[in-house]
């Protein structure tokens, strides 16, 4: 992926910013250009809640280049406090201790792959909420 293509997605990658359909109110992550529910092209930037609960998860054993060095890792479906669902890595927890229903929160982490020229990449992940 070109550096500029990656840069264009910085808001959703680094700040969990999606968008909301001005007509029907549906919220999307990543942001969409046209609402997939009502067809409206009027969508407004929308910061998503940084907390939610883990609905379902998997442990990845077969991974693409770069990620094969960090297996096994957890990927989960998180339902945020506003009901929007996001797929992301679950981190800061032993694989054996991950549980459905677990409360999680956003964290931004470095990835094991880089853009051309060695630019470091980060992504949104979720970690258990510490009480």
């Amino acid at each position: 992926m070109a550096t500029s293509a990656y840069w264009r997605t910085r808001l959703h990658r680094y700040r969990l910013i999606g968008n909301k359909c001005a007509k029907c109110g549906k919220v999307f992550f990543p942001p969409r250009l046209v609402c997939s529910y009502c067809g409206s092209a009027k969508l407004e930037e929308c910061k998503l809640p940084e907390r939610g609960k883990l609905v379902e998860y998997t442990v990845v054993h077969s991974a693409p280049k770069g990620y094969d060095a960090v297996v096994p890792y957890v990927v989960g479906m998180v339902e945020l406090e506003n009901g929007v669902r996001v797929v992301a890595q679950i981190t800061d927890v032993d694989v054996d201790e991950v549980k459905e229903g677990m409360e999680v929160e956003l964290t931004i982490r470095r990835l094991p792959e880089e853009l051309e020229g060695g630019m470091i990449c980060y992504t949104y992940k979720f970690r258990p909420v510490i009480r």
Binding site: T9, T58, V59, S62, A63, V75, V87, A88, Y124
Partner: protein, 392 residues
């Protein structure tokens, strides 16, 4: 479009390579081999074609070969005709048939070659995960660590939880595929597979075991389509295309209200049944797109072959084996015949042709009259349902 008169469309011949790791054959070599076989078996030459559709999902990624139809038309000596590439992930092959069907049905073209080709053995296992994940939305999934296997695992676990199903029962899909491939000469893996072997294999993404999904394969499959009248004129054994329908769903699984709804699969099959004026129970067999065992089980349900959550019950009943009342994946399905991604839909059509012309050998479904092929990509985000009928 509905007011246009439509012609009946036939498939008059098929040609294919075995699915394998063909180290000695190039993408072109596979394409030419399958295409020539189909032409020869119809007694035609490339010059008698109006043109061709080429389906491939990953050649741009793995071989770096874009402009595929143009390159392959030249390799076949097809000049001054039409040549069009179709790229829709796993659905590519069936979508090419969808196009050719309309060309012939609406009288735009008379004789059309459809060839699906994929050469996956030139990518390492890690590159294959990337290549398969490349059919997902790159803006969403590049640089996140989310893989196509991990999405499939979320669907799988949702299925197990909702219906209280056991993985050992879902994985029966792969066991049946391998059983059917035993006597299939073009199958990649013509050997028996036990549940124990599957459950003892490594994980792709938990709970999915390596042996519940196809591995990389090279292969090409071709069919020749023409008007039904032309088929009769040529005096060739042929099958009729009863319907070819497609539908799409929200691409992002997270945007779907229910991971298991598979709306495009439900809609495409509803349209196809309606067009052909048949019920699911009228089918003699079905070729399912089981890129993961669970996707085959879900397909059984969404195609109306059983009720919601009853897929594993149907697998256990034995009715979906070659000896049963509704055989599926009669030559081994994606798991055992093999899944050269963009070619899958054409392999399925070729297999339906063999069944419906009574040329399926030891894999023959008795009194096969109507066969369905289900081909999809991206968790049924795009689904093509093709229905074929025997003509003798």
């Amino acid at each position: 479009m509905k007011c246009w008169p439509m012609r009946d469309v036939a498939v008059i011949s098929v040609g294919y390579t075995r699915v394998s790791e063909h180290w000695e054959k190039s993408l072109k070599g596979l394409f030419v081999e399958a295409s020539l076989k189909a032409l020869e078996s119809a007694g035609l030459s490339a010059t008698s074609l109006d043109g061709m559709y080429v389906a491939s999902a990953l050649s741009g990624y793995i071989q770096g070969q874009t402009n595929l139809a143009n390159v392959l038309a030249d390799s076949l000596g097809l000049y001054n005709k039409f040549a069009i590439s179709i790229d829709a992930g796993g659905a590519s092959g069936a979508l090419a048939i969808y196009e050719a069907y309309r060309d012939v049905a609406y009288g735009m073209r008379d004789v059309v070659l459809v060839c699906g080709v994929e050469k996956m053995s030139e990518a390492s296992p890690q590159e294959i995960v990337s290549a398969l994940t490349s059919v997902e939305d790159q803006e969403q999934f590049r640089y996140t660590g989310v893989t196509v296997h991990s999405l499939a695992a979320l669907v799988y676990k949702t299925y197990l939880r909702r219906y209280g199903a056991k993985q050992e029962d879902v994985a029966l899909m792969s066991v049946i595929d391998h059983e059917h491939a035993l006597t299939c000469s073009h199958a990649q893996y013509p050997f028996r597979l036990s549940i124990e072997a599957i459950m003892g294999s490594a994980f792709l993404a938990e709970p999915i075991r390596v042996l519940e999904a196809p591995s990389s394969g090279d292969g090409a499959a071709a069919i020749i389509m023409c008007s039904h009248d032309k088929a009769k004129e040529l005096g060739l054994p042929h099958v009729r295309v009863l319907a070819s329908e497609m539908a799409q769903d929200r691409f992002n699984l997270m945007e779907r209200e229910d991971l298991l709804a598979m709306r495009a699969l439900v809609e495409a099959s509803r349209r196809a049944y309606e067009k052909a004026n048949i019920k699911p129970s009228d089918l003699s067999f079905a070729e399912l797109y089981d890129d993961y065992s669970v996707m085959g089980v879900i397909a059984l349900e969404k195609l109306g072959l059983c009720g919601p959550g009853e897929g594993t019950k149907l697998l256990k009943s034995g009715e979906v084996t070659l000896k049963g009342s509704m055989p599926v994946n009669t030559f081994g399905g994606l798991k055992a015949r093999g899944a050269p991604l963009g070619a899958v839909g054409v392999y399925q059509a070729a297999e339906a042709f063999l069944q419906l012309t009574n040329n399926a050998g030891p894999n023959q479904v008795k009194n096969a009259r109507i066969g369905l092929t289900h081909t999809s990509c991206g968790f049924n985000s795009l689904v093509v349902i093709n229905l074929f009928e025997a003509c003798c």
